[in-house]
Amino acid sequence: MRPAAVTQGLVRRFGETVALGGVDLEVAEGSVVGLLGPNGAGKTTLVRVLATLLRPDEGRAEVFGRNVVTEAGAVRELIGLTGQFAAVDELLSGRENLRMFGRLFRLSRRQSALRASELLERFGLADAGDRPVKTYSGGMRRRLDLASSLIRRPRVLFLDEPTTGLDPRSRNGIWAIARELVGEGMTLLLTTQYLEEADQLADRIAVIDHGRVIAEGTGDELKDNVGGSMVEVRLEQPAERERARDVLLTLGCEEPKTADRPDELTLAAPRDGVGMVAAAARALEEAELSVRDLSLRRPTLDDVFLELTGTTAAVDGESSAEPQPAVEAPAQA
């Protein structure tokens, strides 16, 4: 199948900061690719290059064979973009937003009005359609933003952190819409900080850090790298940490990779399921260790990162090398 989007050796710098350090990526038509990485990894920069908003310093980027720099106009006909910050007009109503975008996409007044109603209905905004967007919740804004990208069905849709900052219910709503679009055969490139999100939606995941793709594969492949589930133990007595570790090692757990809090232990578990929890609980009890909390969880982005890079991902955005788009845009001329 021909690729919907391709980048080769893509480099983009902001002053001294290398936002993209030579990215090769391919998004097959009809597939969903998740671009997974912490803040500042270069995800947004990559999407902005593909969406013709940012020129690369080096390398090549194409959307359906059209170069994003030399054929930007043609690329814009093919793409939809929903950014990190819902770029909808606060002062207009949801319906007015959609009608405006409809007009800009060359629909007639009548078509724009029809399309607006259709999309409001589909995205669960029919009741709120005539209220100004500033009265919308975060989740509603994102849905409207997404609807705005779908006025004219794009061939490939870029979703830049579509659920960051949303509550779980709104997040599920966005996921459901994304799945629907995928079901209709739309190609998606999705950026996210959450492994779970990439896992839920993407066929393939590219892990990006410091402007480079450091791993690529399906969600399961990536998690297998980490070694399946993680056992997490929280102790009453920090002094008993060493002993607890030894007990869990005898069950087949791997050595902990980081020093967590002094009363906590996180180890890769040898297997999944209730049996593992039961075995751990029994062993810890037999060793007469007082445990405050015991859980088995799927690996997180942190775990994958730890495995891939040996350092914890800066999920909270402390090492943001990627300027916020709004600030970055005027900065480069």
Binding site: L53, A87, L104, F105, I151, R152, Q332, A333
Partner: protein
Amino acid sequence: MSDEVAAARIPGSVSAPRRFAYSVEDCIVVTGRNLRHFVRQPQLLIFSTIQPIMFVLLFAFVFGGAIESSLAPGVAYVDFLLPGIFIQAAAFRSTQTAVGLAEDLDRGVIDRFRAMPIARPAVLIGRTAADLVRNVFVTLLMAAVGYLIGFRFRSGPLDAAGAILVVLAFGFALSWIFSFVGLTVRGAEAAQSAGFVAIFPLVFASSVFVPVSTMPAGLEQFAAVSPVTVSVDAARALSIGGEVSEPLLQSIAWIVGILAIFVPLCVWRYRRMS
């Protein structure tokens, strides 16, 4: 999904006149969106309308008595003042062009427009055109308030229309300067401050409120050639009589000059944002 929507436009298949019609339509849609913003912010609308009226009343009554003595005999201060206030208000409002663009940049609205297949200049023209429409409204309103306190266009309706055209054209030219500011400065507040720093000295060191002949020599020289002064003088001559052609030509020269420099500069800046 409706079929008519699903059919994607094929790039490059649109004829040149068609493309031009589309561009005009894009500009109109964006202008309409910006005009709606004025209406949707009633507080902003009310205060931005009260402000020039306040200026008319304050200056007419507070400074009127003191300044009237330095005017040509027989000229009432309110007649002298109003064309100046028109220009002053247009100049102050033009800084809002920068604020509006900076806000749209902050909120990612401009990014969305830029990632869409719409006419490139639509965002800039939509902004400046909407601000021009607002200027028409505010200028006429100020003239109406002026009429209540004794101001009259004394050279006939044609000259009156000419005076208002000068005000609007000058405001439009300034809008393009502040478009550039809005695209360059980061953040709406910075754009606002930058606007005032630029506009305050220009407006006060001019013939807006007082005849420039009352200023110290250096300042007078600066004020005499300032675009604000020549535009005020042109609008004033067209409203209350006096030498029209010289200030009018100077004003047109400034307006054309500003547009010739800043329109391309803005377009360049807008493109360079990628």
